[in-house]
């Protein structure tokens, strides 16, 4: 039952009010009147329910199909809403990491980093260089883990089962390393305002370098098996094209934005932690189709490996945590801090009133803005493409619903 809160015009078509530029208005669900042609053709309204192999989490898409072609899409979210923003109002500032872990749970370090940066900016804390380098190291390892998951599930969306398991095999090595560093495989609770929870364990640099060596080889294998496959390329090239104007209009960030040709990366343009000291390239696409997004993320993985090597080689000596009080009481004020997470720009807008808990904690999740784009991009494609495109945009429902 579609909620009848749309404006319904006389001929039965529900249209959005007003016009806007750039691009065309989002299609939205239109209940097309019965018998659009002499054969009495109707459109099929299908529910890609919260439980579906392809929606990467509990996302509900109400899809209007004309045969196999998607005519309109409505995005329905909220199945994973846990009230992170409200809960944050009763957590101390060093406990925010646990909440952020459960936002974008696949790249948890980035969320924790954003929260820590916000508090540090507000309090004017300078973290030790070693802490910054450790944070960046775990962030890049987490980016690799997240992109590996994206790669596996993207292959699965196009029908290739093997790639998913090879990706998980590679990710296991990464999760073992992260478990040694932080004690946890996924919800790390490691990055705190002032630094990190604990220093790197001895011998971890050898393990990380060994991983980098094997992973570089495997990455090329993955690309040869999936990316260079004719069938995959025919399914992915020139599908789901997002123009620069559409990307900016919908607030896209991260790899999705860079695939359209706009080279904005928070690591380079609003640098934080150890990124100013690292050498890395920003891959940028041209057309903005699913193939460009694939290539941008594959290249980002290579760049991440490059950065990890630099970080391990140049890890300075020092403290892993600055001298911060046990209970943090930032002065009253507001701050915005953002990081380049694997999905885009994850930002925290923090309002404080001088107490031990935040006054208002706004979590700008990158996927939240990406999933709005489905209503614009999916119509006009075939249904099989729709499933593939959901994978190519790499959303994480924890970040969308919070």
């Amino acid at each position: 039952m579609i909620d009848p809160h749309f404006t319904v015009s006389e001929d039965g078509l529900m249209t959005p009010e007003g016009t806007f530029s750039p691009g065309s208005p989002p299609a939205g669900i239109r209940r097309v009147p019965k018998g659009v042609d002499s054969l009495g053709t109707e459109h099929l309204i299908v529910n890609m329910g919260p439980q579906h192999p392809s929606t990467h989490g509990v996302l509900r898409l109400i899809v209007e199909l004309d045969g196999e072609e998607v005519v309109a899409v409505e995005v329905s979210i909220g199945f994973l809403h846990r009230g992170i923003e409200k809960l944050a109002e009763s957590r101390r500032f060093d406990q925010l990491a646990t909440l952020m872990d459960r936002g974008d749970y696949v790249s948890a370090i980035h969320g924790e980093q954003a929260a820590a940066l916000a508090v540090e900016k507000l309090m004017g804390i300078e973290i030790p260089t070693k802490a910054a380098w450790i944070r960046t190291l775990t962030a890049e390892l987490n980016r690799l883990a997240s992109h590996i998951v994206w790669f596996g599930t993207f292959g699965l969306d196009t029908g290739a089962m093997g790639q998913f398991l090879y990706a998980m095999r590679d990710r296991e090595a990464l999760l073992d390393i992260l478990e040694e560093i932080s004690g946890q495989r996924m919800m790390f609770n490691y990055v705190r305002p002032g630094g990190v929870l604990a220093d790197l364990p001895a011998g971890i640099d050898r393990k990380i370098l060994a991983f980098c060596d094997t992973f570089e080889v495997y990455l090329e294998e993955h690309h040869a098996l999936l990316g260079c496959n004719e069938i995959f390329q025919s399914r992915v090239k020139n599908i789901g094209i997002v123009t620069k104007e559409t990307a900016l209009a919908f607030g896209l960030t991260g790899a999705n934005l860079r695939a359209t040709g706009i080279a904005f990366d928070v690591r380079r343009d609003r640098p934080y932690d150890a990124y100013p000291a690292l050498e890395f390239d920003i891959p940028v696409g041209t057309v903005g189709d699913a193939w460009d997004r694939y290539m941008v993320r594959m290249e980002e993985m290579r760049q991440s490996v490059r950065m990890v090597r630099q970080l391990v080689a140049g890890m300075p000596e020092g403290e892993h945590m600055a001298k911060v009080p046990k209970v943090l009481r930032p002065p009253a004020g507001e701050v915005y801090a953002s990081v380049e997470s694997s999905r885009g720009e994850t930002g925290i807008h923090l309002f404080t009133d001088g107490g031990a808990t935040p006054y208002r904690y706004r979590y700008r999740g990158a996927s939240f803005f990406t999933c709005q784009l489905f209503e614009e991009v999916l119509p006009g494609h075939l249904f099989a493409d729709a499933c593939m495109l959901l994978g190519s945009f790499d959303i994480m429902l924890g970040e969308v619903d919070r």
Partner: protein, 152 residues
């Protein structure tokens, strides 16, 4: 990174609205009435300030009213700025989606979380919570402690 207050004032010169441009620690904040927000945002997007992206849109319960903040970014000038409007409790928020389509979902969330009504929006339904849930981010709705949750 932060625009110049004088440049902002110059860019907004033509508008009829009452706009307050302040340099705060977070950056340049423009204050205006909610009904003027669309005009201001349109001006910021199309004028020399070239704010091509709406990075975020959220609300804040100040205790007296709800403040909606629009976080804008200009990539060509590499600047961020904030537009802030006040809305009374249970008041109405007019949508700016036809200027920045990235406002579609955040406005629904802000209206739902602060108990505002949303006008001019193609799909003004609840976003994250089910029917019957109070506007969660209002200060009047308390945060339940773990004991309260356990005891019912």
């Amino acid at each position: 990174m932060q625009p110049d207050v004088a440049a902002v004032n110059r860019a907004l010169a033509g508008l009829q609205a009452a706009i307050d441009v302040v340099e705060a620690p977070i950056g340049v904040v423009l204050r205006c009435a909610q009904k003027d927000a669309s005009a201001v945002l349109k001006h910021l997007r199309d004028g020399e300030l070239d704010c091509c992206m709406l990075i975020d849109l959220f609300g804040l319960d100040t205790g007296e009213k709800v403040e909606i903040t629009y976080h804008l970014r200009s990539l060509s000038r590499d600047e961020d700025m904030y537009v802030r409007c006040g809305v009374d409790y249970d008041g109405n928020m007019h949508s700016v989606w036809n200027i920045y389509p990235s406002a579609l979902l955040p406005e629904r969330e802000a209206a739902e979380m602060f108990g505002l009504t949303l006008s001019g929006h193609p799909n003004p339904k609840r976003l994250l919570t089910t029917d019957g849930v109070p506007p969660l981010l209002r200060k009047a709705v308390p945060v339940r402690s773990a004991e309260e949750v356990r005891s019912g």
